[in-house]
Homo-oligomer: 389 residues x 2
């Protein structure tokens, strides 16, 4: 598999009250079109990733809605797989390119979340959980708190290790102008922030954000737009795409401390790309809560079970470390506009592999990975990207 990334776009993530969902979608799409030197007429299909507009804004028909705003008349539709919507839209776009049906497609992830009350958002997000979990009174922080407690107990890890993940991701976000929270925080600030669901504190949790991200993908390696500067910066390709499913109910899983769907998807992706986890230079992982980043590092094969908690604490996953994780700031500090997240991960890795990540550039990065999950890991999507030819 080799799918070329022709262009990328991203709005700032944050509380963007002055912009509507379609404003954000247009901004990200136009940027991706501009930097790929393409017009909308050259795009064969539009894939829109969004989770919540149906529930929050009573609008599910986002394909034709955004197509109308972009003056696009080709096939368009929405992909939804809870918080993995963005990653899955990338994957479905890739499969459609591999089928030969389309040559160039636009994948757009967008979410508008900050115009609603906390109650509305909290209820809407629970649409990614099971009925049983809803009836038992769970929220996503409390579901991930169960996981975190099981992990801390099993591996005798302290809450400081969770907090270290948040500190690292905020450290990275200070170099990202598009981040929701582009500033550093301290370990004590995390530990002293209010408890949301023990052991998770406010600063262990990713925020509610508005934002959009877009990428233009092509199945034709030679379909470069001819721009010299574009060619000089090299073509980044997606060389593996994999998806896996776990039970929706946390109660049906054998081991709370393992993201089985991520493990399965990663194994498939490594096989497809013919590489080992050790060859990955950097990754964007789904740190909806600090514990989720730790479990991701283990499920992706970067750390043995129980050792993922050491990564941020020992600074190994910092920008300057041996395996930089979430250089964008991750969901925690870059923000988490749900449908946009999986697409933004691809945007960040593309910037890094093109050497265009500015102050947060990882040196000599050649292979990057993205990991995007839905719910507590019921859905997992993994992609591998490279700038090698």
């Amino acid at each position: 598999m080799k799918i070329a990334i022709l262009g990328t776009g991203q709005t700032r993530f944050g509380e963007l009250w002055e912009k509507s969902l379609t404003d954000l979608a247009q901004e990200a799409a136009q940027e991706a079109l501009k930097n790929s030197h393409l017009t909308i007429k050259e795009i064969d299909a539009l894939f829109v990733a969004n989770m919540l507009a149906g529930k929050l804004d009573n609008q599910v028909h986002l394909g034709p809605l955004i197509a109308e705003k972009l003056n696009f008349s080709g096939p368009s539709f929405r992909i939804e797989a809870a918080c993995a919507s963005g990653g899955l839209a990338i994957r479905e776009a890739i499969l459609s390119l591999l089928s030969g049906e389309y040559q160039k497609v636009l994948v757009l992830g967008v979410e508008k979340m900050t115009d609603y009350s906390t109650t509305q958002i909290s209820e809407a997000l629970m649409s990614a959980a099971s009925e049983e979990e809803k009836l038992a009174g769970f929220t996503f922080p409390s579901l991930f708190a169960l996981i975190a407690n099981a992990y801390l107990k099993k591996y005798k890890v302290s809450e400081r290790k969770l907090a270290a993940v948040s500190v690292k991701n905020h450290y990275h976000a200070q170099f990202n102008q598009k981040a929701h929270f582009p500033f550093k925080i301290t370990l004590n600030q995390v530990l002293q922030s209010p408890a949301v669901a023990e052991p998770l504190k406010l600063l262990d949790c990713s925020p509610i954000s508005d934002g959009a991200a877009a990428v233009i993908l092509s199945n034709n390696q030679s379909s470069d737009p001819g721009s010299e500067s574009y060619l000089r910066s090299g073509i980044v390709s997606i060389i593996a795409s994999a998806q896996a499913t776990d039970t929706l109910n946390l109660s049906q899983r054998g081991d709370l401390t393992q993201l089985s769907s991520v493990k399965k998807a990663a194994q498939k992706a490594y096989q497809m790309a013919k590489i080992k986890p050790q060859e990955i230079d950097l990754a964007e992982v789904h740190d909806c809560f600090t514990i989720a980043e730790i479990l991701a590092l283990e499920a992706l094969g970067f750390y043995p079970k129980g050792q993922g908690a050491q990564a941020a604490a020992k600074k190994e996953t910092y920008l300057q470390g041996k395996l930089p994780i979430n250089t964008s700031g991750g969901l925690k500090a870059c923000g988490h506009p749900v449908g946009a997240t999986g697409v933004k991960q691809i945007v960040e890795i593309t910037h890094q592999l093109k050497g265009k990540a500015g102050q947060r550039q990882v040196k000599k990065a050649q292979i990057g990975l993205t990991e995007n999950i839905g719910g507590t890991g019921g859905t997992a999507v993994v992609h591998i990207l490279t700038n090698k030819n």
Copy 2:
């Protein structure tokens, strides 16, 4: 393109208060597995079509939910494109097979609608329309009434011609045990039924239904399950799949009396299958309202503009006519569990092309077509099927 249909399943459509969404999903899936002689372990991926569970039941994460119930551990996710969700799920499944990523996939359309109040359903369905249309107070009956009025006026057609479509589809439904309304009605009953949005009356409108439909698709023509009876009944294949988009807003279209997205998708599909509209032996079209069937017949190239209204009135689209349309009873009489509809259309045409449609069997049918739209035609999906090798 040649995608084999290995099995089909369908629940009865209707007010199925004793069955939950996952009950319906399991019933249709198990039937499809059974009649394809496959076990769930032999399926590579699960595509779930559903529109309303997010809004009505606060449940969007249907891939892992239904996977868990089916004891399925492969990739699974939900496809949503308003009332075209089912057709689009079929299309995305086909593209994933053509990409070579999967060999056998299960496509499941399911909707649970009758447990909610009319107000809840009416509001939820408007999630497929534009903001402007919602603010103006439109509902789907009134949007299609605008279209119907424009058509009746432009082509000097009487309301009796609309009613004839409903009478035909009820005539067909009497032979379909799975239909929501398996009985005949008269032209006068339609004309005398209460006005919903002039000129559309109650019996011009498809109902609110529960139901599920499933198909198992394969990219391997030789992957027959080896059953003699299966082989005797012949393999039905999908030989064309096309999707097109129109503006979401009705007000942005040049001509209210034409379904441009259907026309575009149909042209692509005919080109792909290398056939002409005249070669189609029967079709299932999206008669959410009687006027929609008439416009579909014209957009699909079966009748010139303004002539589609004659079809049912002259009995040409009856079971025994020259071009049987909606032998299942259509959305009107078989029922319209939104996410299931596009999948059920494929199930019906498959039954017909296998010669297994019982009392409603169309004689010597070799090529069938399905047309599924979302909203007022913002999304359109067209498939062509055949039993020829």
